[in-house]
């Protein structure tokens, strides 16, 4: 595997953290929107649309509604984005070795990724708007439903690799059979879990526009909204990278990264356009009744497999 080392500041601010990550987030958002549009026989947005949206939002006035805690209102989007950007540092982004790595960074990354959803939930709960409140309740409910199965499915490869370090799991995944074949259930649950995390349809009940306008983010405008949105885009890239690194044979170079994540995104876009939105009670039911059980079976199979292997 190639190892490129860059000065820490550049890693944090420009590449592969910071700016480059933000830019790739926008590109992935565009790919996702374009694919969904094509699945629906539409034209879809042009390549600069997410960027244009972002510039427009950043240039707009940020309205702080009455009844909120202003400090919290302003810092939540920043915290959410910062958490997402930090999480990227432990993940083999673009096929490079993670910038920082230590034993157990998988757990830290997963918590950092949850910060985003938590931030959106708190942002909704902070306002007095009814739609935001309903949206916040739904966001947090959803967080508690997909998080456990998602976590369990990422533990599968970790147990196989006998490591809690993402970079080591990546290397392990690269060297053995693609884990999508050895742990197919885990892969499906992980992929669907990622969709739940990103609130993609059919798990978009927390921001169901026909019911609660824009959910928790209804009261957000301007910069706050822009940061939340770009945070979500970054999370999309990180999520894809994680699933690819764990289940699709790891990441060794940028080309491999590009091909594998885009194929995964294609599948995800297909899934997004295939289903009707699930009600929040249906989402919770699905995750706990099916998702969690499947993930546990997978985990059990791995543990038993390893036990037999050792014996």
């Amino acid at each position: 595997m190639t190892t490129i080392t860059l000065p820490a500041l550049i890693i944090l601010l420009i590449f592969p953290g910071g700016l480059f990550l933000l830019a790739s987030g926008l590109v992935y958002e565009w790919v996702d929107r374009k694919l969904v549009a094509r699945f629906q026989n539409r034209v879809g947005p042009r390549w600069f649309q997410p960027l244009a949206d972002m510039i427009k939002l950043l240039a707009k006035e940020e309205i702080i509604p009455t009844g909120v805690h202003p400090g919290l209102f302003v810092t939540l989007p920043v915290a959410a984005l910062a958490a997402a950007l930090t999480a990227a540092l432990y993940v083999p982004m673009f096929g490079f070795t993670p910038a920082f790595s230590f034993r157990g960074d998988l757990v830290v990354t997963l918590y950092l990724l949850s910060m985003m959803t938590l931030g959106i939930g708190l942002a909704g709960a902070n306002t007095v708007d009814r739609f935001s409140l309903v949206g916040a309740t739904r966001t947090l409910t959803q967080l508690f439903s997909y998080e456990a199965p998602f976590l369990l499915t990422l533990l599968g490869p970790a147990i196989m690799a006998s490591s809690w370090q993402i970079s080591q799991i990546n290397v392990y995944a690269h060297n053995v059979w693609w884990m999508i074949f050895t742990q197919p259930i885990g892969f499906v649950v992980a992929l669907v879990g990622l969709m739940g995390k990103l609130e993609f349809p059919p798990f978009d009940a927390p921001e169901a526009e026909t019911e609660i306008v824009s959910g928790a983010l209804t009261e957000y405008s301007g910069r706050g909204l822009a940061l939340f949105r770009i945070g979500k885009d970054v999370e999309l890239v990180i999520g894809l990278t994680l699933v690819v690194a764990f289940y699709l044979g790891g990441l060794a170079n940028p080309l491999e990264f590009l091909i594998k994540t885009l194929v995964l995104l294609l599948v995800m876009a297909g899934l997004q356009s295939l289903f009707a939105r699930l009600r929040i009670d249906q989402t919770v039911g699905l995750w706990w009744r099916i998702g969690a059980v499947l993930a546990l079976i997978q985990l059990l199979a791995i543990i038993i497999g390893r036990f037999i292997g050792r014996v």
Partner: protein, 393 residues
């Protein structure tokens, strides 16, 4: 205790501006978590005073005013009105004209039902189905444009007949279009009845028994899905429906899924009717002469709009202008069913239940009242026009 409970009421307003309803209507749902415990409705945000307006326009001008009550079922409004005026004036409309009116009415039904299917799917978060149905709806809109010259306000009717004729080329184009749409409709039937995620949102939701539907006075497909056999095309055939009998489509379970099925089955029936009309088109004149002054009388005209029974009451006073025109649109009948059934449902189901009856706000609201940015004021038509002229100068 009571007052404390009232304070804790958590009301979710839907409308007048809300992405679920592209038209203005105001609903207040009192919710307890996700469960609705109360509902109320306020209409009139687009009340245009058409009933008053008709009293100062001639019989001919009213045809076009009334056609503009609704953009989706424009033809049935004009049809109901024209049939009523012809009744008042004792005019016999030539059979070919009646057949063409029926043909356009049925094509409009396709347009309306496909549009509804898309909207209902969108409310359920199934945007792919929404995009596909609206794409296919273009077919019938293009056919209507080719036949009548306009995509929305077909203006096929004149008092005493129709403006346009159907030639063989048109008929063939319509047949081809109907064949294509029938195939697509079968596909949508399959999707709606088999897709598990969508079924999860429609099956058993908003259930209404036949007795309840009767008690609440529902009309149209909403009522028929609950087993209410009310269809004006069958009960009191008008225009050319006596020549082309319709079979009523009814459902039994009365839930949202059944409303989907009933509307889709109605589409099949509509395709059959269109082919029948095109194959057996009577020949003859297109218009009959009708006097400008309508003798004093009263008439009631009922037609089956895509959403249900449309009721017109016309009263003439022997002059060129009507004395009174009352329009009772199908949507207003169905409101009570929604308001009564909201309690106990989940908030997430509400947009779907609302759209399940295919509400049309322009149907309900028909005064020129404009809210100015500074304070609100009632403007006369002349002032409004002047404002418009100054604005664009």
């Amino acid at each position: 205790m009571e007052s404390l409970a009232n304070q804790k009421k958590f009301i979710v307003p839907i409308g007048p501006q809300h992405p679920a309803l592209k038209e203005p209507g105001h609903f207040e749902f009192t919710v307890d978590g996700e469960i609705i415990t109360g509902a109320s409705v306020r209409l009139g945000y687009v009340h245009r005073g058409i009933e008053k307006g008709t009293e100062s326009r001639t019989w001919i001008q009213n045809l076009y005013l009334l056609e503009r009550i609704c953009g989706i079922c424009s033809h049935v409004h004009a049809l109901a009105y024209a049939l009523g005026v012809e009744k008042l004036g004792n005019v016999d409309v030539p059979p070919r004209a009646q057949a063409i009116r029926t043909l356009v009415a049925e094509m409009e039904r396709i347009h309306s039902h496909l549009l509804w299917l898309g909207v209902a799917a969108h409310e359920g978060g199934f945007d792919t189905l929404f995009m596909y149905t609206w794409r296919d709806r273009e077919t019938v809109m293009d056919l209507l444009e080719g036949l009548t010259g306009n995509r929305v306000h077909y203006s096929v009717n004149v008092l005493g007949g129709v403006k346009v004729d159907v030639d063989e080329k048109q008929a063939d184009a319509i047949r081809r279009g109907v064949d294509f749409l029938e195939e697509r409709t079968k596909y949508y039937m399959k999707v709606v009845t088999t897709d598990e995620t969508f079924l999860g949102r429609t099956r058993g939701v908003g259930k209404m028994t036949t007795e309840q539907a009767d008690e609440l006075g529902t009309v149209g497909p909403t009522g028929r899905a609950s087993g209410l056999t009310r269809d004006i095309r069958v009960d009191a055939p008008y225009a050319a429906y006596p020549l082309y009998p319709v079979q009523v489509v009814t459902g039994t379970s009365g839930d949202l899924l059944e409303r989907f099925i009933v509307r889709i089955k109605e589409l099949y029936e509509t395709y059959r009717l269109i082919r029948l009309i095109l194959d057996k088109m009577p020949t003859g004149e297109l218009t009959a002469r009708i006097p400008r002054r309508i003798p004093e009388n009263e008439a009631i005209s009922r037609v089956e709009a895509p959403r249900g029974e449309l009721f017109y009451f016309l009263k003439s006073n022997g002059s060129e202008m009507p004395e009174r025109i009352k329009v009772r649109t199908p949507s207003i009948c169905n409101w009570s069913s929604v308001i009564n059934f909201a309690v106990g449902l989940k908030l997430a189901d509400m947009p779907m239940v609302l759209s399940g009856m295919d509400p049309c706000f322009s149907c309900n609201d028909r005064l020129v009242v404009v809210n100015r940015p500074t304070g609100s004021q009632v403007w006369t038509w002349e002032e409004l026009r002047q404002y418009g002229i100054n604005y664009y100068r």
